[in-house]
């Protein structure tokens, strides 16, 4: 199988490279013109320029590919300009899909987000069938993810499979994205947070599920991959116990969390600093559904990794990189 990864230098990308290599598949690793490819170079895998700003590079990277793993959906860096963010997300997604069609790709596995998963009215956990009918009005991140997934699911020039992972944790989160709250908690910083559900998942399980989907004869069209959903408060309590630091303060109200995140975005705008609490994290927690990922679990050989093992793996990585003491 010839496989190309779009976004191979990212958190999931590096883990997918490892999962494919372990399965005997050497992927072509597509990356942006300017990105950190040090971890990929160490893996001795073929690198290829695949920059969404350069559609010809995408077509070249996708040529001869049986499967393209699309891990490069637009990720809004802030929520200050939602209309522009959504427009950019749509344009970039269309560019990727058009390049895949032009290159004759047979199957594209698009990694979306549980931001597109709607909370069920009956109160039960959400499954693959639960998807917002229209863009959720929660912020730029949710709207962008919904639009990109809608485009992917509407694609009829080749087969598209949509994977919606929960909050990915594990090794190679070099940008400390999803794990930012965990790192803050581990440092005893008592991070301000809202109340709501999160669905942590071991990034290696998501990678493993993607490999399975690439090889299935009749894969599902949309699949959720996550571990059990828990409250963010419970997760932070667990992390603070692990690191022997004081328990987190109670969650703040939704409006307070949103106001804090928006103020943080304003504070760091135009600086190299990062917001202490990202707006998309607040939206994801406040509107986070409880997930029933039974189908996704069947795609992970050996079963889903327990959260404790995932936290162990993240801890080992984070200590190695000196993100935590």
């Amino acid at each position: 199988m010839q496989a190309t990864i779009l976004g191979a230098a990212g958190f999931l990308g590096i883990n997918l490279v490892d999962a494919l290599t372990a399965a005997g598949i050497t992927p072509r690793c597509g990356h942006r013109r300017r990105t950190n490819v040090i971890p990929l170079r160490r893996r001795k895998v073929p690198l290829v320029l695949a920059d969404i700003a350069d559609p010809e590079s995408l077509r070249a990277a996708f040529s001869q590919a049986d499967v393209v793993f699309h891990l490069a959906g637009h990720y809004p860096r802030h929520g200050r300009t939602p209309e522009a963010t959504v427009a950019q997300a749509i344009a970039e997604q269309q560019t990727v899909l058009d390049a895949a069609a032009a290159a004759g790709v047979k199957r594209l596995i698009y990694v979306s987000s549980t931001a597109t998963v709607a909370i069920r009215e009956d109160g039960g956990p959400s499954t693959e069938l639960d998807i917002f009918a229209t863009p959720p009005p929660f912020g730029a991140y949710h709207a962008a993810k919904w639009e990109m997934e809608a485009l992917a699911l509407a694609e009829d020039r080749f087969e598209v499979i949509v994977v919606c992972p929960g909050a990915c944790l594990g090794p190679w989160d070099l940008r400390v994205g999803t794990s930012a709250l965990l790192v803050a908690a581990a440092h005893g910083r008592d991070p301000l947070h809202p109340d709501g559900f999160v669905s942590p998942v071991d990034v290696r399980d998501v990678a493993s599920a993607c490999v399975t989907l690439a090889q299935m004869e009749a894969p599902p069209r949309r699949v959720l991959v996550s571990g059990p959903s828990i409250s963010i408060q419970a997760l932070l309590v667990r992390v603070t116990k692990r690191y022997g630091v004081p328990a987190p303060s109670p969650a703040v109200s939704d409006p307070a969390a949103l106001a804090f995140a928006d103020a943080e975005e304003d504070r760091v705008h135009g600086t190299p600093e990062r917001a202490a609490l990202a707006r998309e994290i607040v939206d994801l927690v406040i509107h986070g559904p409880r997930i029933d990922a039974t189908l996704g679990a069947t795609l992970v050989p050996g079963g889903m990794t327990p959260l404790s093992d995932t936290l162990d793996a993240f801890d080992a990585f984070a200590r190695r990189m000196r993100f935590i003491p």
Binding site: R34, T35, N36, V37, I38, P39, R41, R42, L174, R175, T271, P272, E273, R274, R320, M321, R322
Partner: protein, 89 residues
């Protein structure tokens, strides 16, 4: 170490690469320049810079080598250390 890769030549290479990721004028870049505070490089841009240097000089860096680097001089030191290791391997 290659005889052409002196401290000065590595610093010069680092400075040229910084120009690709920072708006700070080249003459203002010194070894004591701090990546975040003086060059306005966030962690992502800093990693991009080190990745470019890894490629240009063939350093074969490990992420552990570079994550704690905070200054231009720190980058030069990491590069020279890797070059020394490679030369003696």
């Amino acid at each position: 170490m290659s005889p052409t890769l002196t401290h000065e030549s590595v610093f010069s290479t680092v400075r040229d690469l910084i120009q690709q990721v920072s708006v700070v004028p080249i003459d203002a870049i010194t070894e004591s320049s701090r990546l975040r505070e003086d060059l306005a490089l966030d962690s992502v841009a800093s990693m991009e810079l080190l990745s470019m240097l890894d490629e240009v000089l063939g350093l074969q860096l490990e992420m552990e080598d570079v994550l704690g680097v905070e200054t231009v001089g720190g980058i030069v030191s990491v590069a020279l250390a890797r070059l020394t290791v490679r030369a003696s391997a």
